[in-house]
């Protein structure tokens, strides 16, 4: 399989040792060590936010590591800028291409490399020859804006080849490609690595990994969580390594519910930005009152887009959404909130809270347009503080009081505040998007209890989760998402973790059952 091996098997081509990277408020990488050999295709697998891109941006000089070293063939090197990285023959293709669309292929490729007088004719010939050698069907004289996304990616690759890169890092290279384009890309990757080059492939798609990689490193919450050869693993094991946290037993015996009438009704919902792969495709489901409806899937398969579309932050291309028999497809976020839609977002820092505001103010966030806590626009601060206090008590939030700043709280307590807010002030339909991600056991239990209580209160609940234990413990029915499509809707009793794992990996209903 691997036709080329480095001279010395014990010293890897490139090696990252104990890399840590801290951003102001998050740990992006912690103690990450990994290496890649010549001739090897290494897949960096993990969910969104697992730290894959950050760690590769460090190798490419876009970020500086706070701790740790980089080695090339056993020698310590420093990479401070992409220029240093290019000097060491490393090249990275970003998820979002960095091409000047009004310029030609040739102009883009020699950009940053051209000095003085440019021999355009020769440059164009060189590039065309390079393209032909790898079987890229790209015209070096064409403008970028006239190329398809797949061709643009080839230009990015050509750019790396033109710089004589020996290590090619590709960040989610298939996200924007059609199946045929993916095949060509995979062919290139194999061809390129067989010439003694190395490829690091960042992805969260299991099928691709099995297709192209020699070795797979799984990352989770900024750390390395597995390092396996392709021959020694399978998709099921990988999906488990990616998503499984310590599978704790949930003492939340399912209340046998008898679901009421339909609350939320989604019909053929599609979100397809122009000239891009659809984010959601023909999604259809109903959620009944008193039902917990699960959305399972490896993260990044359309779950966030579904939540965003339902709450009104993202426009749908086609299809409809009804809430309690009212068409809400085109309503604003504010109107949906007024109709009683609650939303606990997965990224609470970004979408759920204002970190530098007090807990009271964070309570007010959703209610600022309603007369709950204000008279003629003037906030009734006493009433707001009282209600906030009682919610803090009820949801067991550890905080000094309603005046505490949100940022002073631990993640678990922040989440309890958001859950409390959404549950107390929103009506009959609540979206929980990965409500327990990153929480400790106590907080997880707390959130689960709240969700089950709302079910008893006959609310319709949508629970997005990448944790199978959570899905099985709480949900009545579950829809499995893969690449923005529903792979099937099942009663949780019909499934086991093996079947659901395969569905999440992209196998169809028929193949599984």
């Amino acid at each position: 399989m691997v036709s080329f091996q480095g001279n010395d098997m014990s010293t890897p081509f490139f090696e990252l040792r104990n890399i840590s990277k801290y951003f102001a408020k998050v740990i992006a990488n912690k103690d990450v060590s990994l290496s890649v050999e010549r001739g090897e295709v290494l897949a960096l697998l993990g969910e969104n936010g697992a730290g894959k891109s950050t760690c590769m941006k460090i190798l490419y000089g876009l970020y500086q590591a706070d701790e740790g070293q980089i080695y090339k063939e056993g020698e310590l090197i420093t990479i401070k800028t992409p220029r240093d990285a290019i000097h060491h023959r490393i090249s990275m293709i970003q998820q979002h291409f960095s091409l000047v669309s009004a310029h030609t292929v040739t102009e883009n490729i020699i950009l940053g490399n051209a000095k003085g007088r440019i021999d355009w004719k020769k440059a164009q010939q060189d590039i065309q020859r390079l393209a032909d050698r790898y079987g890229f069907n790209v015209d070096a004289g064409k403008k970028i804006q006239d190329l398809t996304v797949g061709e643009q990616q080839k230009v990015e690759i050509l750019k790396s080849l033109y710089l004589d890169a020996n290590l090619l890092i590709m960040d989610e290279p298939t996200a924007v490609l059609t199946p045929q384009e993916i095949d060509t890309l995979m062919e290139f990757v194999r061809e390129y690595s067989s010439r003694g080059n190395a490829v690091i492939f960042i992805t969260h798609k299991l099928k691709e990994v099995m297709h192209v990689a020699n070795r797979i490193i799984v990352m989770r919450s900024g750390r390395v969580h597995g390092n396996v050869l392709k021959e020694e693993t399978n998709e099921r094991e990988l999906s488990r390594m990616m998503i499984e946290h310590t599978m704790q037993e949930l003492d939340t015996a399912q209340a046998a519910g008898k679901p009421g009438k339909v609350s939320l009704s989604v019909r053929s919902l599609t979100v397809a930005p122009r000239r891009e792969v659809p984010l959601l495709k023909n999604v259809t489901f109903d959620i009944h009152k008193g039902e917990i409806f699960g959305i399972a899937g490896v993260s990044g398969n359309g779950q966030l887009e579904l939540c965003m579309t339902l709450c009104g932050a993202m426009k749908s291309t086609s299809g409809s959404v009804h809430l309690d028999d009212q068409d809400i497809t085109h309503l604003s976020i504010r109107k949906r909130i007024a109709l009683g839609m609650g939303y606990v977002p997965s990224d609470r820092h970004r979408y759920g809270m204002v970190m530098d505001m007090s807990l009271s103010e964070n309570m007010l966030l959703k209610a600022s347009y309603f007369s709950t806590w204000n008279r003629n626009g003037v906030v009734n601060r006493k009433k707001l503080a009282e209600t906030t206090s009682s919610i803090l008590k009820h949801y067991d939030v550890k905080a000094s009081g309603p005046g505490a700043l949100a940022r002073e709280l631990s993640g678990g307590n922040q989440q309890k505040v958001i859950v409390g807010r959404e549950v107390e002030f929103c009506g009959d339909f609540i979206i929980f998007d990965q409500p327990t991600r990153g929480l400790d056991l106590g907080a997880i239990n707390n959130v689960h209890t709240a969700i089950l209580k709302e079910k008893k209160n006959n609310k319709a609940i949508m629970l997005v989760s990448t944790e199978l234990s959570e899905i099985f413990a709480l949900c009545d029915r579950v829809a499995v998402f893969y690449k923005g499509e529903i792979q099937g809707i099942f009663r949780t009793s019909e499934l086991d973790s093996q079947k659901i794992g395969l569905l999440m990996a992209g196998y169809t209903h028929q193949e599984v059952i």
Partner: protein, 350 residues
């Protein structure tokens, strides 16, 4: 223990002022004068008589407005660099109203209309930001030059005094002057208007749902959007109010101090307002005090220039130095905060 943020603000601002004085002290050294003597003269001359003390507040008045203008958009994480231009628009409106209606009615009318015209002038910046994602920093800055040249154009044409000699208007009728609040000084009603504006802005920001939404957009636009707030609408409204506030400085300067409009009218109050707002960390009440500090420096400096033979431009230089350091201190504070967060994070994980 003092809150770390407040501590940072006090420390950095203190050093900003001290560094500004120190640097301008060096400039005085070049003139072969003793900077300590000169500064002593500066401080003593501020308080030498009632008239001078009144002058401090006269100078502070427009600064309160332009600083409020900057602070208000700043709370929504927007930069209104164009208070100077909005001030010119307010001045043009105030002088036009007062010349057309030479009676006391002109005063309330000038206040209302100046707020509206300069508000619309500012609102245009917010609109272009909301609709076209234009850079409000650049547009507000460049719009200042448009306003300046509009003013100069009008001063050479329709607003020009009847003799047609100077680029300035006729003196306003006495009945349109803002009345004095302390006899034997130039201190006028405009100062009270400025205090009222500052208190009102504070109430809006910290006591109403509208102000809450502005701050929410400023601190986390996405979370605000998810809560049903339309950040784009907030951009437009805050810029209207911000522009209006800067325009009110036009009324206080035209009807309260100069009693006419002339070329080169108060060319630096917009820039000073930015620094004052940052010195006060955007707090409307803090702005009142920071403006008075700058008013005092200005008044003391002018007298110092007259008495000591040190050119009075040294005081502008000093204001400039302090301003630059105050603005730098804002970024220093931010850096401290980020590294503090980072440290907590690292300690928490080891």
């Amino acid at each position: 223990m003092m809150d770390k943020k407040t501590r940072d603000i006090l420390i950095t601002n203190f050093f900003a002022v001290v560094l500004g004085l120190l640097l301008s002290g060096f400039m005085i050294l070049f003139l072969k004068k003793n900077p300590i003597q000169i500064f002593a003269l500066l401080f003593s001359s501020m308080f030498r008589d009632g008239y001078t003390i009144g002058e401090i507040f006269v100078k502070a008045t427009p600064l309160i407005f332009t600083a409020l203008a900057f602070a208000f958009t700043f709370k929504a994480s927007l930069f209104n660099i164009g208070a100077q231009g909005q001030f010119y628009i307010g001045s043009i409106t105030a002088v036009s109203v007062s010349l057309l209606i030479p009676s006391p009615v002109a005063i309330p009318l000038a206040i209302i209309l100046s707020f509206i015209t300069s508000g619309l002038w500012g609102g245009f910046i917010g609109l272009s930001k909301a609709k076209f994602k234009a850079n409000e920093f650049l547009i507000s800055m460049m719009s200042t030059y448009v306003a300046l040249n509009l003013m100069n154009y009008l001063l050479r044409t329709v607003l020009m005094e009847s003799k047609g000699e100077y680029p300035q208007t006729e003196t306003l009728a006495r009945s349109t002057w803002l009345f004095k609040i302390v006899p034997h000084t130039r201190l006028h009603f405009g100062f009270i208007l400025a205090i009222l504006a500052a208190v009102t802005i504070w109430l809006i920001l910290y006591r109403t749902t509208f102000g809450f939404r502005i701050r929410a957009v400023g601190q986390n636009k996405e979370a605000a959007r998810m809560s049903g707030v339309n950040p784009e609408r907030i951009y437009i409204i805050t810029f209207i109010i911000s522009g209006g506030l800067a325009g009110l400085a036009g009324v206080t300067e035209v009807n309260g101090v100069q009693h006419m409009l002339l070329q080169g009218f108060n060319p630096s109050i917009g820039a000073l307002g930015i620094g004052i707002a940052i010195l006060a960390n955007g707090n409307p009440i803090g702005i009142i005090f920071a403006s008075i500090l700058f008013g005092a420096l200005h008044v003391g400096g002018t007298i110092m220039g007259q008495l000591s033979g040190v050119p009075s431009s040294i005081i502008n230089l000093m204001e400039g130095f302090v301003m630059v350091f105050v603005i730098i201190s804002y970024y220093v504070r931010r850096k401290w905060e980020v590294s503090r967060d980072k440290k907590l994070l690292i300690e928490g994980t080891i």
